[in-house]
Amino acid sequence: MTAVAVVLMRDLFAVVMLTGIYSLLSASFFVVFDAVDVAFTEAAVGAGISTLLMLSTLTLTGRYAKESTQKPWLALAIVTVTGALLIYGTLDMPTIGSASAPIHQHVAPRYLNDSMQEIAVPNVVTSVLASYRGYDTLGESFVIFTAGIGVLALLMVLQRRRASDVDAHGPMHQHLILRIVAKILIPLILLFALYVQFHGDYGPGGGFQAGVIFAAAIILYSMLFGLSAARQTISQPLIFALSAVGVLLYGGVGVACMLLGGNYLDYDALAEDPVAGQHLGILLVELGVGITVASVMIIIFFTFNGRSLSERGRRR
């Protein structure tokens, strides 16, 4: 649907917006297919953060793509072969929704049946994410941390060239109404992020989503009141430290479990009662993820925009 248009359009800006729509559509699809947590994340990440990032990039690179001059036939051939292989592969698949498919028979039932006794967290996705497969999530938060490192290593500008005069009034100073509404909303958004963070056990949500929402609030602030104002509120070294603290918290919980006699990330060891230990572990781990994600998102966004400011400063 949308994807077709993406191939055809040359205006990168329109493409980015359509990608946003595509991601919203797929998120709606996730809701229909019961994957509420995923829909939550996809909405916040795909439609929110990715779009923001792409727009920031477009600010730096310009928005029109050239007509593609390459011969698409080879590409088309590769794609057709791959697609045909995939379709061939689907022929043996269990039909959608059939409860007898192997994935519903083998490993998953245990999560659904026993997690209430073992972890006592109603949201099974949270308990699988943070406990049964907690190590994957550790890896995931390190991946996002790596992305932060990468963006920093590539785009960090020296603080000297901060060109704050460009930004003195904040970029949107003429939008008075926007600024006032945002002032009312930002605290609410932050509150909502906290709610998502700690309500993840019972409903959709958790550290990752909360982190993204938190970062979104800060980004909103910096968009309306200027980057330097935002930087004054939240200092750079503090976010750097926080991003490391987040992953270290996660890893540290694992080490603590090990020191207390369990295996790595075995939250049972954290308290006398295994269930209480699981609760504590999941809470801390989600907090770690939330801190990392929020601070890395802020780092990435600030770095992109700091770059664009200094670019403009140079051009003058």
């Binding site: 729509i21 509420v36 439609a47 477009l58 949107m172 968009m223």
Partner: protein, 90 residues
């Protein structure tokens, strides 16, 4: 009755999508995307009721948030680019 609402919202989403495709000016697209987002919020809320698990309104909340922020981001982006580009090229 939720079904009626769902169907109506889907139709509107389609319309907004067509408008986003057609343009013609950039602001039309922004508007269409904004409207699309609003409708997604509605859709999620209604579908939650349709499936009998209305606890998932958090997602709708996030959508509303994302929608607002992305509109602002888009506007901000155009504040930064040179003015001659803001009206779409012929």
């Amino acid at each position: 009755m939720f079904l009626t609402a769902t169907a109506a919202i889907l139709v509107v989403m389609l319309m907004a999508l067509i408008r986003a495709f057609l343009g013609p000016t950039l602001y039309d697209r922004i508007l269409a995307v904004n409207m699309f987002g609003t409708n997604t919020v509605l859709l999620i809320a209604v579908v939650g009721f349709l499936m009998g698990r209305p606890e998932f309104l958090d997602i709708a909340m996030v959508y509303a948030l994302v929608n607002f922020i992305s509109v602002i981001a888009i506007l901000r982006y155009f504040e930064y680019s040179p003015p001659d580009e803001t009206v779409e090229h012929k």
